[in-house]
Symmetry: C2
Subunit: 142 residues, 2 copies
């Protein structure tokens, strides 16, 4: 999660909402990504999406059933869907997102009957640092 | 929708689940994509995602608030989330997807309080052809 937090810090420095994500396989880092929708002109370029796509490319396969995803913020519906499609084994996330989260808020996607793969979910890992970074980012923009 | 159906046909020919998507701006085609998670080793490579990303790249911006999305199948949670992030104005889709859809099934994402942009939704456009293609594809694989 330290790596994901450091990617989130890079996102903030680039003027993006500070979220970072890492995909690991057996404890080894496969991909590290920072949130980058503005820089990439890509509304789908959340940190989780970029990390999943990069890990799938590195591994040369579309399913990451032996991989874990670490992300500093509760995933949104798009990212929760991607996590499920990718068959991620374990999801570790930092801060909760009452406004846009889709794991413990809103659609609670992994609890839906239309969700065909549910990762093990561990919430609140590094939540203090992740939340502080987000609050600071949005406070500076008000 | 004819273009989206033709992209879906290409997906089927490539051994992918037959779904196609088109992004239009003022009636002009910005991007046409076929579902391609296997070919691209990318679990996020649904037709809608590829079309949204391609249109955003063509237009050089991350928001497509003046664009419409045409897709042959009801979008899943991942794609519904992306449609919302991209600020797509109107969503036209073909066949309903009781198993994985997230518009009229499961999370019903656009009706969630955590959904911050809802497109106008028009369902059932070309549903006959889209559904027949999907049934044929899965029947051949049984």
């Amino acid at each position: 999660m330290r790596l994901a937090l450091s990617a989130a810090r890079e996102a903030a420095a680039a003027g993006e909402v500070p979220v970072g994500a890492v995909v690991t396989l057996a404890g080894e880092v496969m991909a590290t990504s920072a949130n980058a929708p503005r820089a990439l002109n890509d509304p789908t370029a959340h940190a989780e999406m970029l990390a999943i796509r990069a890990a799938a490319e590195v591994l040369g396969r579309e399913r990451l059933e032996d991989c874990d995803l670490w992300v500093t913020l509760e995933p949104c519906a798009m990212c929760a869907g991607a996590i499920s499609h990718a068959r991620i084994a374990r999801l570790y996330y930092g801060a909760s997102d009452a406004k846009g989260g889709a794991v413990e808020h809103g659609p609670r996607f992994f609890a839906q009957p239309t969700c065909h793969h549910r990762p093990e979910v561990y919430a609140g890992i590094g939540a203090g640092a992740a939340g502080a970074m987000l609050r600071e980012f949005f406070a500076a923009r008000r």
